[in-house]
């Protein structure tokens, strides 16, 4: 660190939100500095106030609902908090640029990328003539191949990683001194995440930028940051050089965060366990129709001839990048969508069953969905949500009997049964996912499909949910089909793993064998990206 004054200096910053007469303090007197060329990471779980802190640097919050009761933000010895709108506009995009989490919604879907980057350049005073050349230069810099051909592309024609690269190109357009990156890789696959992080790191070095990096992922922090600020409940509880934080954490919360990675071993594989569900050559093809007669000219092969076996008390993990067909396969096996190929459940061929014929089996085949905010009806109380399946599958049960079962199920997933008259919005993400699990468990199923059950949750909550799932499996001898892109979670829960890519199985086998000695390049790249945030050689994974 240099002895001169830092590039950005935040002192005693507070952020408060006022809504309906209530004032909540989201950020409580935080202070941090960023020196020239330094990367500082703000780490914390959701609701810790890290994004709000970053947004207030450029005063991008919803004022006047948001306010700053105290604090000072000095950027090159100018106070940004008291700066006028005109002054701020000169700083935004020019000296401080920002990239956001969701590259799809940050780009205007109606304009080509050439126009969008060009607009940024024009706004900041580039001459009309020099703009096309500069756009190509920028796209080249952020690693978009064949930039000339991509100029006319619209955001939907690009992959998630490419979109994020375009966002970075726009942010770099005016060679900012500071780049604020708000969870720039959270919405991306691990393999793409590794590429984007490498790009950001390279660019930072080339251009001598500083970076404020907001993330919840400690793996990324370790890879990219020079210094770390750990945030919780709107306060910075610990600040220090990255290595020191990771090797010698002082604050309890930092220790807790570091210990939060999903741990533990899956139940040992038992090849002889009873087979619960099998799929033979399962195919899900979506036809592409063209022409006046809507003739099928081709198919999108979402799942293309996959064989699956799930045994009682065992977990089959399905991993792969987004678009690899893992969720589609799960939905086909649980007969939520139509498919071809033989599916056997509990000795019955269910692939030709109608919705009506499936109904009695629904209690034995349960699904836990990814998004705990979306999968619970906002208008039903917890008791109603958990009891809904009971009303269908055990119509003879009395009101009290049903209530009793709901209470048992809630206890089993570690929720206070007294809370069952509340509505989902009163619960945190982890609690909601427990409710979703209780909804599945109350019916005492044999087979549960878990579709990314942890990916919407904070790290420490993920670990708890994984432990809960493992306990339930042991107790009820459940068969799990565990779909996830998060290899750490899969390693902690699955004893068999299937790696999918473009609808086909790339590699399949015992979990420890796949994790310790992956055979195919694709699996290797996936592992490297997930565990070490390493970039794979070109062509092995998607961009």
């Amino acid at each position: 660190m240099s002895t001169s004054s830092p590039l950005l200096s935040v002192r005693d910053l507070s952020v408060a939100f006022t809504q309906g007469g209530r004032t909540t303090t989201a950020v409580d007197r935080i202070s941090f500095d960023i020196a020239d060329g330094e990367t500082v990471a703000l780490v914390g779980e959701s609701g810790s106030g890290k994004s709000v802190s970053a947004l207030s640097v450029l005063k991008l919050l919803q004022y006047p609902a948001a306010s700053h009761p105290s604090g000072e933000i000095r950027f090159r010895d100018r106070d940004l908090l008291s700066a006028s709108d005109a002054e701020l506009r000169r700083v935004r995009g020019n000296e401080i640029a920002m990239i956001f989490q969701e590259p799809m919604t940050s780009l205007n879907p109606l304009h080509s990328i050439e126009k969008q980057i060009g607009e940024t350049l024009k706004l900041h005073g580039f001459e009309e003539k020099t703009i096309p050349g500069r756009i190509l230069e920028l796209l080249d810099q952020v690693g978009i191949r064949d930039a000339q051909k991509r100029l006319k592309a619209y955001p939907h024609q690009l992959s998630g990683g490419q979109r994020q690269r375009v966002m970075i190109a726009m942010a770099l357009a005016n060679q900012p001194k500071l780049l604020i990156a708000d969870e720039p890789t959270t919405a991306l696959d691990v393999t793409v995440q590794a590429q984007i992080l490498k790009l950001l790191d390279d660019l930072k070095r080339e251009q001598g930028m500083s970076m404020l990096f907001i993330t919840h992922d400690l793996g990324i922090v370790r890879r990219i940051a020079d210094r770390v600020c750990v945030m919780t409940d709107g306060k910075i509880v610990e600040t220090g050089p990255t290595e020191k934080i990771f090797t010698d954490p002082q604050h309890d919360y930092t220790k807790h965060l570091l210990a939060a990675e999903p741990k533990g071993q899956p139940i040992l594989l038992d090849e002889g366990a009873e087979t619960v569900l099998t799929g033979e050559a399962v195919k899900v093809w979506f036809p592409i129709r063209k022409g006046l007669m809507r003739k099928t000219v081709d198919n999108i092969k979402a799942v293309d001839g996959v064989d699956v076996t799930v045994r009682a008390g065992q977990t089959l993990g399905i991993v792969g990048e987004s678009g690899s067909g893992k969720t589609t396969l799960g939905l086909a096996l649980t007969r939520m969508i139509s498919s071809q190929g033989r599916i056997r459940f509990d000795g019955k061929d269910i692939d030709a069953f109608s919705f009506e014929a499936m109904r009695p089996l629904r209690r034995e085949i349960q699904i836990v969905f990814q998004d705990p905010f979306g999968s619970l009806s906002p208008r039903m109380s917890i008791a109603e949500i958990v009891g809904e399946g009971l009303a269908i599958h055990e119509p003879g049960l009395s009101r009290d009997g049903r209530d009793q079962r709901v209470v048992e199920a809630l206890k089993e997933v570690g929720l206070d049964p007294e809370t069952r008259f509340r509505y989902p919005h009163e619960f945190s993400g982890g609690q909601r996912q427990r409710v979703a699990i209780a909804r599945a468990m109350v019916l005492k199923p044999k087979f549960v499909m878990l579709d990314e059950p942890t990916s919407a949750l904070d790290m420490s909550v993920q670990a708890q949910v994984v432990d809960l799932l493992r306990d339930l499996q042991r107790k009820h001898n459940l068969a799990y089909l565990f779909i996830s892109h998060d290899l750490k979670v899969v390693r902690a829960l699955a004893n068999e793993v299937m790696v999918m890519r473009n609808g086909e199985v790339v590699e399949q086998g015992r979990s420890n064998e796949i994790f310790d000695a992956p055979k195919t390049d694709y699996t290797k790249a996936l592992m490297a990206a997930a565990f070490d945030i390493e970039v794979a050689p070109a062509g092995v994974v998607s961009e």
Binding site: Q19, P360, D371, E388, I392, F421
Partner: protein
């Protein structure tokens, strides 16, 4: 308009067992938002007061007393038509119906020591005032200079017992010497009731149609949409005129004819909501539990669509009332003699020398429609998940 907004609500709920409150937290927030729109809130109360009062129109404006005491027996002419035999048991000329406005009858009651409680306005919407001070349409009472002038037609002039405030035509009479105030009260009631029934029935049909289309999609949706396109491209007004000319005019027939076309307005929004929400994760979760389609539609999807529908309702209600009024104005509406605001406006147009007809009709219609629109605005605010009041 998802209900993720509910999560923004940071209210803390006391610990412990808590039964479901009368309003769910979400609805409580909506009610708060509704109240925050002061204009809509006061409009709601004003409208409710006017509407409830108009429901009791028979007790406010009627040519029959509310209660009559005669020789120890109590009569309630508001509810029941009495024969004159009740008053004169031995009279062979007794008429089948007592006309309490007849001075002869009034005298008989008073002579027997009885009494009558009259409504504040002693005219019903179809009562013809036989003692109009001037030729019909007659001016409103406040435009006359003296009691004498108002009561010239009564037998004893200003001294006549019937020369009371209840018998004055507060807002004048129409060209058939019927009291305008009474006709306004009844007209308001019939317009609002017509609007409410039509809106309610259209909502039920439209929501059902839109729900089925949106939920099942595919061919059902395609065919349904084409049918609706054909149906809604019919020239509704001409059809209304033609059908109204063939069928005998009446409240229910008119309602039926207008219902044929008005339900279409709801289909679009409900269908869109169902199309959007049928792939929500909690709907998929319900499917995975084996919940039957009908239950999913009612329990999980309908509440979503109700938000859009409720936001729409006040505006459809207004449209229905306006259509009824314009049909009445054109002479194709309610049967002749009914209390109708449109007919009052028509009279105003035909009797420009009597401006109180047009003005009073106009004011009542515009106040009624404005109140409903203000309520509609507040409803829209209430259901807007992004709306925050600082």
């Amino acid at each position: 308009m998802t209900d993720q907004s509910a999560t923004l609500d940071g209210r803390t709920i006391p610990e412990g067992r808590r039964k479901r409150p009368f309003l769910s937290p979400l609805n409580q927030r909506r009610w708060q938002n509704f109240k925050a729109n002061r204009r809509g809130y006061w409009s709601l109360w004003l409208f409710l007061v006017l509407f409830v009062l108009s429901l009791f129109a028979e007790f406010i404006a009627n040519d029959r007393p509310i209660l009559v005491e005669y020789k120890g027996q109590y009569l309630t002419p508001v509810f029941k038509t009495y024969s004159e035999e009740v008053l004169f048991p031995d009279d062979p000329l007794a008429l089948p119906r007592i006309d309490f406005t007849d001075p002869y009858i009034q005298d008989a009651i008073h002579e027997a020591g009885g009494w009558m409680i009259w409504p504040p306005i002693r005219y019903s919407y179809r009562t013809v005032n036989k003692e109009v001070p001037t030729a019909a349409p007659s001016k409103p009472a406040f435009m006359f200079d003296s009691r004498e002038e108002l009561c010239t037609r009564y037998a004893a002039g200003a001294e006549d017992p019937n020369c009371t405030i209840g018998n004055f035509n507060w807002l004048g009479t129409d060209d058939q010497a019927r009291d305008v105030m009474a006709r306004l009260i009844y007209g308001f009631r019939i317009s609002v009731l017509f609007g409410l029934i039509l809106t309610g029935a259209s909502a039920v049909i439209g929501v059902a149609f839109g729900a089925v289309q949106g939920f099942f999609g595919g061919w059902i949706d395609l065919i349904g949409q084409r049918l609706i396109e054909i149906w809604s491209s019919m020239p509704v007004l001409y059809l209304l005129l033609i059908i109204a000319a063939i069928l005998p005019p009446g409240f229910w027939i008119l309602l039926g004819i207008m219902l044929l076309f008005s339900w279409v307005a709801f289909v679009g929004i409900v269908r869109a909501e169902f199309l959007r929400a049928r792939n929500f994760e909690y709907v998929n979760a319900a499917r995975a539990l084996g919940v039957p389609n009908r239950t999913i539609m009612f329990r999980h999807l309908l509440p979503n669509a109700m938000v859009a529908t409720l936001t729409f309702l006040p505006f459809i209600l207004n449209g229905s009332i306006t259509t009824l009024t314009s049909l009445d104005f054109l002479g194709f509406g309610l049967p002749p003699g009914s209390a109708s605001l449109g007919e009052l406006i028509l009279q105003g147009k035909n009797n420009l020398q009597a401006p109180w007809l047009g003005f009073s009709g106009f004011i009542v219609i515009s106040v009624m429609l404005s109140l409903l629109i203000f309520i509609g605005e507040a409803t829209r605010d209430a259901f807007d998940p992004r709306k925050t009041f600082g």
